[in-house]
Symmetry: C2
Subunit: 299 residues, 2 copies
Amino acid sequence: MRTVTAIGELRTAVRQARSGGWTIGLVPTMGALHGGHLSLVRASVAKCGFTVATIFVNPTQFGPNEDFAKYPQTLESDQRLLEDTGCDLLFAPVKEDLYPGGFGTWVEPDAAVADILCGAYRPGHFRGVLTIVAKLFNLAQPDVAYFGQKDFQQAWLIRRMARDLDFPLEVQVLPTVREADGVAMSSRNRYLSETERRAAAVIPRALGAARALAEAGETDPSALGGAALGVLETEPAFRLQYLEIRDAETLAPARGSTAGKLLVAVAGHVGGTRLIDNDVIAVPAPHKPARQEEVAHVP
Amino acid sequence: MRTVTAIGELRTAVRQARSGGWTIGLVPTMGALHGGHLSLVRASVAKCGFTVATIFVNPTQFGPNEDFAKYPQTLESDQRLLEDTGCDLLFAPVKEDLYPGGFGTWVEPDAAVADILCGAYRPGHFRGVLTIVAKLFNLAQPDVAYFGQKDFQQAWLIRRMARDLDFPLEVQVLPTVREADGVAMSSRNRYLSETERRAAAVIPRALGAARALAEAGETDPSALGGAALGVLETEPAFRLQYLEIRDAETLAPARGSTAGKLLVAVAGHVGGTRLIDNDVIAVPAPHKPARQEEVAHVP
């Protein structure tokens, strides 16, 4: 695997791959790679002739009081991990090349979706995300770009951006990869002490409770939310930011009548570390008695 | 020349051209074509193997009180004009394909430049322009995209967008094409009555006065602006919106010390029709006496 830092080198490598007839897969990351990232790279390697991973801790998606300055930087071990997946190229640019002087053009996400869930707590976050992803799309010109379901809202907005702005590519969103105790893999798990790490397991347990209730036939979103909340409240080290049940297709608030896929999304803190997770649960339409006019037609 | 309306047909045609080894030129227009548009198409045909012109009256760049509903639509004569230039493909999509339900992702221009000049009078205009141009860049995937200097601020923001978002293409801005009396060609000139059309000639006369003064050695932006204003005031049918002198590279207000290229930009109304025009004038650095410390070193 080659590592390049200059935009020109990336463009040349991609052009060569393209002229060799290969499809191009892109896996944008902020480094501090874990099994979730690696599953995306492996999916790309399996499907695309040429896989580009990128590592760039994007400053424009961090708020002023967030963890940009201390975000883990582990380039050498990241390179070894990528090497083992069969990744072809690592693009690890410097900030000055991606945000040159006078930078001022932004990709603004749909406010109706950017300002809910995590967006309500991280103003400007998704603008930063969409802007860097649009840039990486234009730099690597992939046929397929891979993102993880753990960042569900991010993946939704990227998919919508790709559609709205007609990017000529497919956005693939792959399942969250979890540790043995169910905790979603995340670069930010490195911030957790051993005790905090154990406390974090309350999140997948809460999601599991909602899923179990749905599998037992419950379709009411507030009942499902209540089940998850009941579990979260058993862990005093977990401070809830939000627990929301939404339509997984539209991200509109789920109602009692919502059928199809429900997103159960959780965010909160363990110590100073913000963690997010989610699950998508299929629910049938709630049972409704046959309507009068339908009954009337029965012979 | 083929005309296509479906996005899929455009993508297929562009892919074929690309796989044939041709470079692709793009000329985005809103139709009602005139000599200015045609000069862009001819430049593309001369340089690129495959030229795509687009005609789409983009609703998102019009304000609520602007002329979207009455904007001239002249597809058949536009097709004949393009045919004669050697254009390969005309893409003339419908609104529903470019702005499907749930559309919500926008390209936001640098506010410092989007809110001055025309932007001060047309809030949201350049957001609409950048968004549709980004879409057309992604749909046609050109190597070169052509725009006219008449829309100087638009061209500046598109160039900046292409740089900031790393679009893999070159933005070419070509000189304004003028009628015999100097009036800049514009689709909106069709709105003018004969009397109004004659009155519009005051604009290039005013720009000419500023240029003549600069060529006579004047470098002070306010003197150049004064010369243009003096001419504009001779035409009672012209209602000035703005006359500004700015640094043509940065669009910052020009000062007495600005050397290099000055943008002289005018906007105003003749009857109900809004017209814009501009000129770029090279000025030398104003003469400064040698500084004390420099003088002191002379033997």
